[in-house]
Assembly symmetry: C2
Homo-oligomer: 347 residues x 2
């Protein structure tokens, strides 16, 4: 399949073409970029939903049941699972199999033409994960899925970056999953539009729910202070962000208790997701957040392109400079300044 065939295939519902295109994007093949350029005008229609949380809370089950629910509501669903497996030990393949097993109880999803599943490996890729996830989502969007679910494991900065590809972010927790402070440390209580306490049939779900609500109130207060004053601007400057994050004013994240493997709470979760999408559209926030997302993605693409450029340009011998620094002949900051002077037009 050449680029023309793939583009045509994606736009006419050929899943093999979609899979091929994602592989190109994932592996940084030039064809991937070309395909993305050509399908871009057809994007922007899907509702993109991110789901994150620590391992073991049952994200895969939630994704599976949610897919069934949306199918029952007449919507088509694309799924991207970010798998932090190793390129050495074949983590991505393992991830695929595991996730397929995880979805076993709903085997029919795998022969349902309205569903598409793809896992992407996050390890061993030099940066660009959020941009690559964004690109995969964009391909699925152009393909025509109504809903795109992005699942990611863990709660590090890279997971936060990935979840920010989404219009609606779901944070999945479970009762008594560690002490409260540990979860707050991971910073996941700032990225959710919807919180799920899964495995709610275990004891302690109510306590976890109350605690999430308390944490959200604290966060809300901080957001209000930042919105009212010019501190948001200062914060932007201080942290070196190109665009600042828009506070969640106008939306109070609900906390939904589920027992995903029994399907309990899944309809309520789907309702909350649809309600959030309506809120985004009617408030104008959808356009705003998508613009921010584009800006972040573009910065990431740019960073990747500049890394590629550094490897190829004859303006800078990076290895030689590192050699000098490692002999204490030059400090890293002065070295970077030298590189900037060599490659940039007006630095």
């Amino acid at each position: 399949m050449d680029v023309d065939e793939i583009v045509e295939g994606i736009l006419s519902g050929n899943k093999r073409a979609l899979a091929r295109a994602i592989t190109f994007v994932e592996n940084d093949y030039p064809e991937g970029k070309e395909i993305l350029k050509r399908i871009f005008p057809k994007t922007g229609n899907a509702h993109i939903i991110g789901i994150t949380g620590f391992p073991g809370v049952g994200k895969s089950t939630i994704v599976s049941k949610l897919t069934q629910e949306f199918r029952a509501r007449g919507k088509t669903v694309g799924i991207v699972a970010i798998d932090p497996g190793s390129p050495f030990t074949g983590g991505a393949l393992l991830g695929d199999r595991l996730r397929m097993d995880g979805l076993d109880s709903s085997k029919k999803l795998w022969i349902d033409p309205g569903v598409f599943f793809r896992s992407m490996s996050s390890r061993g890729r030099a940066g660009g994960l959020a941009a690559k996830t964004g690109d995969a989502v964009r391909l699925m969007d152009a393909f025509g899925f109504d809903i795109i679910l992005v699942e990611t494991v863990g709660a590090g900065q890279s997971e936060v970056d990935v979840i920010e590809v989404a219009d609606t972010s779901i944070v999945a927790l479970m009762p008594e999953m560690g002490d409260d402070i540990q979860i707050n440390k991971a910073g996941i209580l700032e990225i959710g539009d919807i919180y799920v306490v899964n495995k709610a049939d275990l004891g302690g779900a109510d306590k976890t729910e109350r605690w999430i609500k308390a944490m959200l109130m604290m966060d809300q207060e901080a957001v209000e202070i930042l919105t009212k004053t010019t501190h948001a601007q200062e914060y932007e400057i201080q942290t070196g962000k190109i665009f600042d994050k828009i506070p969640r004013a106008g939306w109070s994240p609900p906390v939904i208790k589920t027992v995903a493997d029994k399907g309990e709470g899944i309809a309520e979760l789907a309702d909350a997701i649809e309600k959030h999408f309506d809120y985004l559209k009617t408030s104008g926030k959808l356009l705003e957040t998508r613009k921010q997302r584009l800006s972040r993605e573009m910065v990431e693409i740019l960073v990747q392109e500049i890394k590629n450029y550094l490897k190829e340009t004859d303006k800078v011998n990076f290895r030689e400079i590192v050699e000098k620094v490692s002999k204490n002949d030059l400090d890293p900051h002065t070295a970077v300044e030298k590189i900037m002077k060599s490659i940039l037009k007006d630095y």
Copy 2:
């Protein structure tokens, strides 16, 4: 304190000067860069030890006990804790207090002039965490600490990046902490030079130990294949890494069982750490890995500088370009190419 006083202070053992310098670095103040340039020739003497693992495995306790052990062995210890707390809710301050509580059982560490503790927040900082951690470590190194311990929470890519500032990486686990596959998914079984199974007095520590060893053998095989063939080169090209990672050939990561809160296994852990440092020095790997670390840090500093440059240059109106892309008038990849052409000398 001006830059001269701070530099002088660091080199003459003034902790207030050190703390001030780290604050400058953490907040991207220009003074930070100037201080780093000036202290750089005095760096390279400390043994830098990273410790990571999921929340709840007892990393803070291990760090505390290890600090006591190294003090008893006549070594001074600097500690950097990466706290993924929020800039909104004051996570960094909370982290400080928590970690102080965590170290309570060894209160004397806080009045010990041979110990210095600092937490750094990882959230709300636009990128550059590994570079910033590297800079903080470098300041402590110039100050003269024999040992520098870097503790990070979680196992996402950013934690992996942070741990890579270390000469010796410790991965802390505990018995039965979830199913095996979940841990492997997080990729933490590829970054350890030493593995710790803490809380070994709980049941199942032997099983966890056996399982880590089995996973390491698999990894070792993959490393051997990559070392023997030219696949390493291909891998490097495929993943777009500027420098490839050096496989751990020549060192078999030990698995050490500890009950940190009772001090059990801590001496063995300290022995393993010292043994690994000896191995790094005698094998020549210390220089090699430090060169790689410098190279990664420099890429990160460069990325940050280019982001800053983009905000200031009149060659590119980033917001305007994002606006166009968000209206589907331009696709993100073509947009980035335009930006590259505007800012780079020979793109």
